[in-house]
Structures are given as structure tokens and as C-alpha cells.
């Protein structure tokens, strides 16, 4: 059954074949987990929400209709809604724990490289987490999930052109924010004074 395509496996899963659902799960659990992990910033919430995504999917799979939206996009939408609820419930944003082995040791990187990468990761993730939800979602789908603009558009329910435009705006705001971060406090004060005309 593992050789079957998503639609064929889906048809079986919709009839209550749990093994078929297991195959879909195996195909997508990593991607959904990644998406949630980068949106929440910690392993335990990522695991909890990933479980919820698949529990919801299995209980609603009979309602899924392939009307141009692939199953993966359906799963990402469930994940997106659950993450949005999670952020609403936890009004404070959580930072990615950089001491977490999850991000580093699994790739077997050299410790120095790992440390350097952690610092860059910290800077970048701090800035990314300040972005609006849709921009965070876009960056994660593009870079972590390696999706095309068209695929991202299906998940975010926007046209390919709209995604391209949103991506451009996201890069602009990221660059501005990173440049602001690079300034020393004195430089920041000077910039603020110039901006406010003081």
C-alpha cells in the first residue's frame, strides 16, 4: 500500500482503514512537525500540536474532498489553525530554546560551527518571530519545507503572485529589522533622534 499515491491511500483511509491513514501519517508527520516546531519554538508544544493535527485529521478525513487542494495543504491548514489558537492562548511568544539539542546535534556538526550557527539562528529567529503570522508561515514553508510559491499559495489560500509579493515585503522588513539589531544602543538612539527630528 505504501506505493499508492495520496489519493488512493486517502480513499482507503476515508473508509476507516487505519493502516492507510498510518501511511499518510508517515508521509507528512515530519513536515507538519517542522512547521509547528518553527512556529511554536519548543519541542513539547510541537509534539502536542502535531498529535492534535493528526487526531483531527483522522476524525475529519471523511470530510476531506480533493477539490484542487492537496491533502498536504489540508493538513497544513489544520496545523496553521491550531498554531493560531496556541498563540492566542499563550499571549506571550516563546523563544526557541537554543540549548535544545534538537537543532544541532542531529546534524552532527562540529561544535564551533554549531555555536556560530546557533548565534545566527538566534538573531534570525528573534526577528522572524516579530513578523506577522502570515510572513512567518511563508518563510517556514519556503525555507524549512522547501515549497514553491504555488504550493505555498495553495496552503495560504492566495495566488502565486500574492505570495511572491508577500515574500518580497517580508525580505524587506527582515532586512530592516536585522540592520536595526546591528546598531549599538548609541547608534540606535542617534537613528531614533534623526527619525524623530530631535
Amino acid at each position: 500500500m505504501a506505493d499508492l499515491n495520496d489519493d488512493e491511500v486517502l480513499a482507503r483511509a476515508a473508509k476507516g482503514d487505519r493502516e492507510a491513514f498510518g501511511i499518510l501519517y508517515e508521509r507528512y508527520v515530519g513536515r507538519i512537525y517542522n512547521y509547528i516546531y518553527y512556529r511554536t519554538g519548543n519541542v513539547s508544544d510541537a509534539e502536542d500540536l502535531t498529535s492534535r493535527v493528526f487526531n483531527r485529521a483522522i476524525s475529519h478525513i471523511g470530510l476531506y474532498r480533493n477539490v484542487g487542494v492537496p491533502f498536504s495543504a489540508w493538513l497544513y491548514r489544520i496545523a496553521h489553525n491550531l498554531v493560531a489558537n496556541w498563540h492566542r492562548d499563550n499571549s506571550r511568544r516563546q523563544e526557541v530554546p537554543l540549548e535544545d539539542n534538537h537543532l544541532t546535534h542531529q546534524r552532527g556538526e562540529h561544535p564551533e560551527i554549531t555555536l556560530e550557527r546557533s548565534e545566527e539562528l538566534e538573531s534570525l529567529l528573534t526577528v522572524i518571530r516579530k513578523l506577522p503570522d502570515d510572513r512567518q508561515q511563508l518563510l517556514i514553508l519556503k525555507f524549512v519545507e522547501n515549497m514553491s510559491n504555488a504550493e505555498i499559495g495553495m496552503i495560504m489560500n492566495r495566488s502565486e503572485g500574492a505570495i511572491k509579493s508577500l515574500y518580497h515585503r517580508t525580505l524587506l522588513s527582515l532586512r530592516e529589522e536585522l540592520e536595526r539589531m546591528d546598531h549599538t544602543p548609541e547608534e540606535k538612539r542617534a537613528v531614533d533622534e534623526i527619525e524623530t527630528g530631535g
Partner: protein, 97 residues
């Protein structure tokens, strides 16, 4: 630490540097295999289904007869009520004084 510098480059160059940094930093992570296996088991193993106990024929008979008796009593009460109302409406008014 100033990690990302975009001093005098044009926008395209800055963007490609930023994209490189994003690609480098936002790499896929791997979920704990134990978690993945546990969740898979939970999803694919049918939940314990406790079968509904079979109905005892005596209980069913009692239930049905109770329902029938109740319906008859209700019908009787409604009929009596209607008859009483009809009689009251049909009764001539008492003469005054």
C-alpha cells in the same frame, strides 16, 4: 554580535545574502522517533470498543408495555378533557337573578 551586514550592496545582492542566511538557519529538524512511533501506534490502533450490552427480551417487553399503557392512559385523559370542555361549552347559561 553583528551577524548580518548589508553595508553598500544593492538590494538584489542583499536579498540573496539574506536568503542564504535563511536557508542556512531554517533547516528541517527531525522529530523524536519515539514520539513519531508512539503517535503512529495511537492513530493506527483501533480504540477499545466496548460493545453495547445486548437487550434482555424481558426488559424490552416491559419497556414496550409501559409505553403502550402510558399512551392509552394519555389518550384516555385527553378524551376526558375534551369531553368535559365540550359539555361545559354546550351547557346553557344560567338565568340571571
Amino acid at each position: 554580535m553583528a551577524v548580518f551586514h548589508f553595508p553598500t550592496r544593492d538590494t538584489t545582492e542583499q536579498f540573496s545574502e539574506l536568503e542564504g542566511a535563511l536557508r542556512f538557519s531554517l533547516q528541517p529538524v527531525h522529530p523524536d522517533p519515539e514520539f513519531v512511533g508512539r503517535l503512529r501506534d495511537r492513530l493506527t490502533t483501533p480504540k477499545d470498543t466496548t460493545l453495547a450490552p445486548e437487550h434482555d427480551p424481558v426488559d424490552v417487553a416491559i419497556f414496550i408495555s409501559g409505553f403502550v399503557v402510558g399512551a392509552v392512559l394519555l389518550g384516555f385523559a385527553i378524551t376526558r378533557l375534551v369531553m368535559l370542555l365540550v359539555r361545559l361549552l354546550a351547557a346553557p347559561d344560567k338565568p340571571e337573578g
